[in-house]
Symmetry: C2
Subunit: 363 residues, 2 copies
């Protein structure tokens, strides 16, 4: 390109990217790379604990390219026999509760105990906010430099179903790479908690002490999922309130029917910032694991979770197929209007649409 | 038939039903009746408050005969514009809590206040136990004789989805017949509560006071659904324990995040047997209705529920179609075994089955 005349009055032409980085070219390079990926080689590298290979495989899992997905499937199925030997911990809590600080404290503590820790995230909101959790790795400054820790933010631009599936598959890869504690972070939007709860062994709810109104922040049903509630920032002036909150939560947790695992959820105080109470929480996790392994609910739960993801994936796909059908899309809105105006019963409307769908499939 | 020889030593031949009641004959009669049903006439009779016509229409709704279902659809859609003007109350509680006695007391009380009360049930277990709730109408001796009350037990031999759908449709018919309070009874099996919760305006959980272990009886998540908890049998020696339970439940309910309706669930004492506290509960229901009508959450919830049933019916049918496919049935078990033995990831297995399903549909 020829430069413009050098004058401050002259406006610069907008920058044009050189041709080699045009989107078509990028696509070409990506396809070449995809073809070049040798899955057997990647699997070997992952099993050897190579972080670059692990990251590369997770990128394949998250890809929308069919060739990538095929490779990803192959890698996952080959890593499967080497997976499962970890403790999977889900962590949730409203923004401001100190999740990042807590995970950093827990992660660093675990590496001093010779554990290798992987931190993943299920955060569908990141597609809008461009990564509200884990996106900014600098929030875990120490852990990110720790050679026994692997941090991977949630991929953006995906539905909850997509993010959850990718995270579930990434767990397998991390375990095959030798990480023996997997932490899955999520943020209180109800459905993402359910997804994370269905992929971890132990579910931790982070809370703050307060006048009670902080409870408004959590969505219904989440407290029932918790295997333990950790009240964070239990230090200094907060300590008294935290101790009161502990009593109250304990009482509330006892009102719930006992879980299948027969585990009675605990309430623990901690201060992630001051590194206090972290070992207590880890002791609770260890107690939980040994208790549930002893009564077999640990392995039962994992089996159930696998079947859950199997059926869930099928059910999601069936719905996706139906609702994205162009005939259905138009009729659906019409029927909802008719239902709202009491012109047709929801069941008749459903039967009509199903008839339309299956007759269109038979051609 | 010729009688046997009259001797006490001679065994009687087993009774053989006369031919006219053979199953083929019954089928014939049923079909004749179905043909004879004049839906326009039935709708007129229902709107006039004719109980026989109402019962007949509900039987059509519950039928598995396609001709009946078509007639039922027609009737429901014609009753729809005359429905909706009622208060729909869901009632649940573990066996032994006194549900029948409570519903009888509430129902009789309401008829003295010039209400017309319909009592329906969602009880999929009745297909096994042949009607564990409402089946034995004699348990509501007075209410069943009350001319302003209509009691209809759950049809047996159906899945939860089926029972729930029939009850949801029966609500429309009862409302069209002039019943302005609809009570839907269910029994604590978790999923049936969710179904009932999705078809009523107000959800009441019946409890007993006790040492705390009675809480084990309710399934997880049910306490969160309750708009009010009524502690029954709060009389005599139980009164003190009931008052303590009230404090405890109130505290627990305050720990939950506020509902969309901004209604703070209440705890009320009652003794259905002694007819105490029934009017208090009705006052709570009235307060709830006026409060939610004022902030529009009443109508918003009903709209949401209609859409819920519309989509739920579609989603159930899509799954039904998939899982009853003969190719799928065989492969499904194989894949679950492979998943359990870590031979294949749940996601790969799901993708394989979906591919098989859609390719078989395209022929």
């Amino acid at each position: 390109m020829k430069p413009n005349k050098k004058s401050a009055l002259e406006e610069k032409k907008p920058l044009v990217s050189p041709e080699t980085t045009s989107s078509a070219a990028i696509q070409k390079i990506k396809e070449k790379r995809a073809k070049k990926t040798n899955p057997e080689h990647l699997v070997r590298q992952i099993l050897a604990g190579n972080i670059t290979a692990l990251s590369q495989a997770i990128t394949l899992v998250e890809s929308k390219n069919n060739l990538h997905l095929k490779t990803a499937n192959h890698i996952i199925n080959n890593c499967l026999p080497h997976s499962g030997n970890s403790i999977r911990i889900g962590i949730t809590g409203v923004p401001g509760v100190g999740k990042s600080t807590f995970i950093e404290a827990l992660g660093n503590y675990l590496t001093t105990k010779n554990h290798r820790v992987a931190v993943l995230a299920v955060d569908p909101s990141s597609s809008i906010t461009k990564g509200s959790i884990l996106g900014d790795k600098t929030r875990m400054e120490d852990l990110v430099k720790n050679e026994n820790a692997f941090i991977r933010p949630s991929a953006s631009g995906d539905s909850l179903g997509g993010v959850a599936q990718h995270t579930r598959e990434s767990i397998v890869l991390c375990e095959a790479a030798g990480y023996d504690v997997i932490i899955v972070e999520t943020v209180g939007v109800g459905q993402s908690e359910t997804a994370v709860h269905s992929m971890v062994d132990f579910f931790l709810l982070l809370k703050l002490a307060g006048a009670g109104d902080e409870l408004q922040g959590i969505k219904r049903g989440i407290m029932e999922m918790a295997d333990t509630i950790a009240i964070n920032k239990a230090d200094g002036d907060n300590l008294k309130a935290a101790k009161l909150a502990k009593v109250e939560f304990n009482r509330a947790l006892h009102l719930y029917p006992l879980k299948v695992s027969r585990w009675q959820p605990k309430v623990v105080l901690c201060s992630a910032l001051k590194n206090e109470g972290i070992s207590d929480i880890w002791n609770v996790v260890k107690l939980y694991i040994s208790q549930t392994k002893e009564n077999n609910s640990f392995s039962d739960k994992r089996k159930e979770q696998n079947t859950y993801w199997f059926l869930q994936t099928i059910n999601d796909a069936l719905k996706q197929e139906f609702y994205s059908n162009s005939n259905i899309e138009i009729e659906l809105q019409k029927r909802i209007l008719q239902i709202e105006n009491s012109k047709i019963s929801p069941f008749t409307a459903a039967r009509d649409l199903l008839q339309l769908y299956y007759s269109s499939k038979e051609i």
